[in-house]
């Protein structure tokens, strides 16, 4: 499962690409320019496959109000979350074969924490617009009790945003909704802190390079890195880079997925396709895992190789 920092990074890169490309609709560009925070919040929201099209329809209907622009930016971020989530689930099936074949994963594994830490160090160390504060994973931050208070405060605040808390006065139906809607807070920040301050380079190499999580040489990634620096590398042809990304690192493939969403969204916005066709286009770009991955996992010998490699790196201890 991909995590918070990776979701933010994928969204930032997708946003930079959309703002850079000549083909992006002006409505999308203006929404992304004016409402960065909305796109970032969308990037860390679940269940996008159920709600994004309705949100896009609402935005188009209300255009050009401020609300419509915020909705469009949120929609963009929400799709980028799906792009990252779907693509990286494929990778996790390869990196942690036994976990994903035998267990329901609840909370981050060490591998997904390492992905987040890699992204934090690689992409946000000298960023002009950095959503993260420098010392957020410092080891000497002694505020666990205070943190628990704010978890409680936010848990209540976030649930209050759900309509049923104001509308449902029947305890039984309220309780049912309460159990399903309450916000989970995974208790794993200390694992981030521990890993961040005691980084295992060999584990990092396995997590990043085996099965190609991220490759700075991928043309699409080179382009996004140049965009992060505010100096676009115009020697890279965007269309070619997007085409090539199909066979490159999973991070580049996640960016490409979001680009496919963006193209379909633009066609919907300009009236070339309806919501049903948009849904189909999203689904076409959206397989939960590449067929080739299932092919590997279903082949006993190849699967055994993966499991062996995983155990060599520490297996469940990872």
């Amino acid at each position: 499962m991909s995590e918070y920092i990776t979701h933010m990074a994928v969204n930032d890169d997708c946003r930079n690409l959309a703002l850079y490309a000549d083909t992006t609709l002006p409505e999308i560009k203006i929404s992304l320019q004016e409402h960065l925070r909305a796109s970032q919040l969308g990037a860390v929201t679940s269940k996008g496959d159920r709600h994004t099209i309705d949100l896009l329809v609402e935005s188009k209907k209300d255009w050009p109000s401020r609300t419509a622009k915020r909705m469009l930016a949120f929609f963009f971020g929400w799709r980028s979350h799906i792009a990252a989530d779907r693509q990286l689930k494929t990778l996790f099936r390869l990196l942690e074969p036994e976990v994903y074949l035998t267990e329901e994963v609840d909370g981050p594994t060490s591998i997904s924490i390492y992905h987040d830490l890699f992204v934090l160090r690689e992409l946000y160390s000298s960023e002009a617009i950095n959503p993260f504060v420098d010392n957020m994973l410092a080891a000497n931050h002694s505020s666990r009790n205070i943190q628990q208070l704010f978890v409680g405060l936010w848990q209540n605040s976030l649930l209050r945003l759900h309509a049923f808390t104001a509308q449902d006065s029947q305890p039984e139906s309220w309780f049912e909704q309460f159990l399903s809607d309450r916000q989970k807070f995974y208790d794993d920040v200390e694992r981030y802190v521990e890993a961040f301050n005691n980084l295992d380079n060999s584990k990092m190499k396995y997590v990043v390079q085996t099965h190609r999580f991220y490759n700075p040489q991928d043309p699409l990634i080179r382009l996004t890195r140049s965009l992060r620096q505010g100096q676009p590398d115009r020697s890279i042809d965007l269309e070619t880079a997007l085409q090539d990304a199909k066979e490159q690192s999973h991070y580049a493939r996640a960016l490409r997925r979001n680009w496919l969403y963006l193209q379909a969204t633009s066609e919907f916005w300009t009236g070339k396709i309806d919501t049903a066709a948009l849904q189909e286009r999203f689904e076409d770009a959206d397989p939960h895992a590449d067929p080739e991955v299932f092919e590997v996992l279903e082949d006993p010998e190849r699967r055994e190789e993966l499991v062996e490699l995983w155990h060599e790196q520490g297996g469940q201890e990872l």
Binding site: Y4, K47, H51, L55, E58, F178, D188, V189
Partner: protein, 305 residues
């Protein structure tokens, strides 16, 4: 937050503290209590959550608890306490029958949701007890309705300071601490759960909530680091809100509270009194769960807390 909700808060915290108590006493045989409603950022919710956490620890350290209550107080591993979410329970009039359902379920089948029922209902009653104690303290100190927001902010800041080292942070340090907290909480959330029925309204409210956090953290940082002298005297010292040398609080947080710690509770610290009130709520709910007292007895006993 809306004007209406702020107005309600003012009424709930001041004008109707007496009414709240009177209504509870007067109509307790029907079990009619008003549903609680708070503005989290300014309602003293941080203070109540701290009281509930400390009271849970106190109950776990000093009471013999049935398994269902022990689990309700400890919470579910990997999740936060449902107890603190009791403030959201929609119907004070139904809380006893809701608990009764948990008792029946627990005795007959041990449904895991029953401990969540106990947690949310007990949490509601603890929030209520805490608010009654703290609200009455404001009234007794002559604090006016228009001052409630400022008073609650100072009290929340005092509670946060109580978890810090003795050397108070500078405003920059307090801001840095809250910024780190903000980031860590977002990592813990991983992904936000949207409202499945109306995504547009939910997105709008989420953006408003997100923007409000920055303002809240700035105000809290200032109040933690350098509280306004007059505000501190009026809202923290005059109502005797918190005793920094409280033996009870020290014992609870040191995991070594005993019955004598409770007897040593400061009789004029609102926080100490709220702590013992909330722990008593736990004890009363346990008596109800094991059948020692009826629902009517529970209501009467709670009204006397």
């Amino acid at each position: 937050m809306t004007v209406n909700r702020r107005a309600f808060l003012t009424i709930a915290a001041l004008g109707s503290v007496a009414t709240f108590a009177t209504a509870s006493c007067g109509s307790s045989t029907q079990g009619v209590w008003p549903a609680l409603e708070f503005v989290p950022e300014l309602s003293g919710e941080l203070t109540r959550l701290a009281l509930i956490a400390d009271a849970s620890a106190l109950a776990l350290q000093t009471q013999t608890l049935p398994d269902i209550m022990r689990r309700a107080l400890l919470g579910t591993p990997g999740l936060t306490s449902i107890l603190g979410m009791g403030v959201l329970f929609p119907s004070g009039a139904s809380v006893i029958s809701f608990l009764g359902e948990a008792r029946r379920g627990w005795l007959s089948r041990g449904n895991p949701n029953d401990e969540h029922r106990v947690a949310v209902a007990t949490g509601y009653l603890m929030h209520r007890a805490a608010e009654q104690r703290l609200g009455a303290g404001l009234v007794a100190a002559g604090i006016k309705a228009a001052e409630v927001d400022a008073a609650k902010l100072q009290q929340d800041a005092e509670v946060i300071r109580s978890f810090m080292s003795e050397v108070p942070p500078t405003e920059a340090e307090a801001k840095a601490l809250l910024s780190v907290l903000d980031q860590r909480l977002r990592i813990q959330i991983h992904t936000l759960k949207p409202d499945g029925t109306d995504e547009k309204t939910w997105v709008r409210k989420l953006l408003e909530w997100d923007a409000a956090q920055e303002d809240l953290f700035e105000r809290l940082a200032a109040a933690i680091a350098e509280p306004d002298t007059e505000d501190y005297a009026r809202y923290v010292e005059a109502p005797k809100f918190f005793d920094r040398n409280s033996r009870l609080v020290q014992a609870v947080r040191g995991q070594n509270a005993t019955q004598s710690s409770i007897e040593q509770a400061s009789s004029d610290s609102l926080y100490d009194l709220g702590l013992t009130d909330c722990a008593r709520v736990v004890a009363l709910v346990c008596e109800f769960l094991d059948g020692s007292i009826s629902g009517k007895d529970l209501v009467q006993a709670l009204d006397q807390t």
